[in-house]
Symmetry: C2
Subunit: 401 residues, 2 copies
């Protein structure tokens, strides 16, 4: 069976490597060999092992009936959307790592695949090498999903780890991440939470079977987190993690991306560096947590390749994925509840005590005599904002319930 | 589609509950409802919701063609072996939580299921609610598995946690586990490692595609671990965990069950209480770790029910599982390598320094002036035993490399 890879970037070249290097073991598991026949890229790669497979023209692939599986590792919406649609409509399965495209058009592609008795698979779009998509659609199938909560972005988790372990400022942590290749020169997608937002949109769509538009998810990045916040977290023996969460409460699904104070006993607490972790809570199962390297060429490529193997094993059989186009209306942000960690100038302490239901006060040496910091009782976002509007707040971070 | 449950014990009644309580959501995911038609048990359960479904005669089930899926939650080999075989041979899929039966006869049942175009599924046999079997056979398929390592027994992990956190002796930890229902009155299967051994045998068979006989796996329980060992572990900021491990080295598969000293940075370190965790390392993927409640009625039942759903979705389609009857010859224990944590009487200190390659020495207040304790360099089991035979050893625990 033949495979074509669209895009020979980091992930695409990784898929090429995995399919080539593990060819024998994959053939054993599938029952027959899987070979790359084309790699589509605008560039040439003289001297690279990919050279004999390169084409610059997508039509070469579409007109070759022996290609049954297309790997889309181009990223972005254009031309990935059109290329994916044409592949599916021509009866070829498509496997992708493109979270942007999956979040936006997943439901549409899943429907085409269903009608054509082929597959649109996207394990690598969330959590890199961690098989979380299969967990949701193929393992945790007997449960009502009560919550999905994860560290979904390795870059920001790496930065938060540096801030904590090496006492770096936000700016220095970002510089370190950039110089180590973990953050793009334009880091907005990571540090402002957009990447995590697309991922939790995909997971929420799968958990509840309907399209969740990422634009509907309240998203807050880590740009407001300072080294002082980290010092407070340390003093409380907590960690600060950028979480993507969605949960079911009284029949309504809520979703959010934001930094949270996380207790030492939380299974996500020890997840540091570029690792990702995802917790899924089922109504029967309790919590299952999975973690691993969320990014990196080979782990992500391994996830794409496992989808290629699934597509090969399900040659003319659609693997059912419940993700309807009909949109899921999320609960409003104002109704969401959490505790909050809040810092105000010391002069505002009395006012804060009047405005907020205070659960405990925290002080650290660095801010003694200057700040009043506390954790509230559980309150709604609406109530919090109402109180916060009346006082000068230095910073605030949600705090796990 | 109709289901019969064999055995209305803890897990069997849990499966009944899951299929009943989550009936609607399951029907949505499968495409049609799944209903329990029979529950086989020797006992009567007057007043229990199961009453109308009860039968004492397996023949009732076998002669009813509308039953397409059989859930085997009886445990043990007899009559589970015969009942399973008859169900499969009559063209019914079987889903089980019976690790003993799977470890012993998995390969045989998988072959029958393959020939009959049905399925023998056993997600719940390892790690309770953690979907580790699917990870191995359906997710991590593009990788060569380099290592599987897990905390596979919740009872012993609970005991080790108590010993560490509440400074209990082994005996008191066992009593606590028994009185909380986590340990059987006869705890041998747990504390001597037999339970973990069957589970790592199953995982190793799946990881490498051939029958691994659990009798071939060197197995050491936690019965030799004392509160003093735990005190040493604490002093080193390590944890002691009963691990089931198998790994590939130079083309040979090794497997072992034994307590290990585990570093704080090890992803299995924070896994406490009745939780299970399994790390799988692929040659492309790196480590993926999954953890959750490894036992308990509903988590285990949820895993069985997810297999029932898979069986229903794959009505006359065999899900390929690579586990051949041909036996895998494991590498010999003598060739396995690790560091060792060793305690000898102080009077033997000089001799110990001659016999062992010592990496570091450790002392704790409790044993000062009485013991000499150290961690060796990496050495083979053979070399270790040879040296250990020449000296009076108080205790020794393997130490992760």
């Amino acid at each position: 069976m033949y495979v074509a890879i669209l895009g020979y970037g980091t992930v695409g070249s990784g898929v090429f490597d995995v399919l080539t290097q593990n060819r024998d073991i994959i053939a054993k598991r599938v029952g027959f060999p899987l070979d790359v026949k084309y790699v589509l890229d605008l560039r040439d790669f003289p001297g690279d092992p990919v050279e004999p497979y390169l084409t610059h023209d997508y039509e070469d692939i579409l007109k070759d009936d022996s290609v049954e599986i297309v790997v889309e590792t181009m990223g972005g919406l254009k031309p990935a959307y059109e290329f994916t649609k044409r592949a599916l409509e021509s009866g070829r399965s498509v496997c992708t790592s493109n979270k942007e495209l999956v979040a936006k058009h997943g439901a549409e592609f899943i429907e085409i695949a269903r009608n054509k008795n082929i597959n649109y698979l996207f394990e690598a779009s969330v959590g890199g090498g961690i098989p979380v998509i299969r967990q949701l659609i193929r393992s945790i199938t007997a449960d009502e999903v009560e919550e999905v909560c994860g560290i979904l972005n390795g870059t920001t988790n790496y930065m938060m780890t540096l801030m904590r372990e090496q006492n770096l400022s936000f700016e220095d942590a970002l510089k370190d991440a950039q110089s180590n290749g973990f953050a793009e020169r334009n880091p907005a997608a990571d540090i402002e939470g957009h990447d995590a937002c697309r991922k939790i949109a995909i997971l929420t769509s799968l958990a509840y079977g309907h399209q969740v538009d990422f634009e509907d998810i309240y998203t807050e990045g880590i740009t407001a987190i300072t080294d002082i916040d980290v010092a407070y977290a340390k003093a409380m023996k907590h960690g600060i993690k950028l979480l993507g969460r969605s949960y079911l409460k009284d029949g309504i699904v809520y979703a959010i991306v934001a930094p949270y104070m996380v207790r030492k006993t939380n299974p996500l607490y020890p997840v540091n560096g570029v690792y990702n972790a995802i917790m899924i809570r089922g109504n029967m199962l309790n919590d299952v947590v999975c973690y691993g390297k969320g990014a990196g060429k080979l782990p992500t490529a391994s996830a794409v390749a496992s989808d290629v193997i699934d597509a090969a094993k399900h040659r003319h059989v659609n693997i059912p994925i419940l993700w309807e186009k009909e949109k899921l209306i999320l609960g409003s942000k104002g109704d969401m509840e959490s505790k909050f960690f809040v810092r105000v100038p010391l002069s505002e302490a009395d006012k804060a005590k009047e405005l907020f239901p205070i659960r405990k006060e925290i002080s650290i040496l660095e801010c003694e005599g200057r700040e009043f910091a506390f954790v509230t009782e559980v309150m709604t976002e609406r109530d919090f904002e109402e109180a916060a509007a009346k006082i000068d707040i230095i910073g605030r971070i949600r705090y796990e319930i």
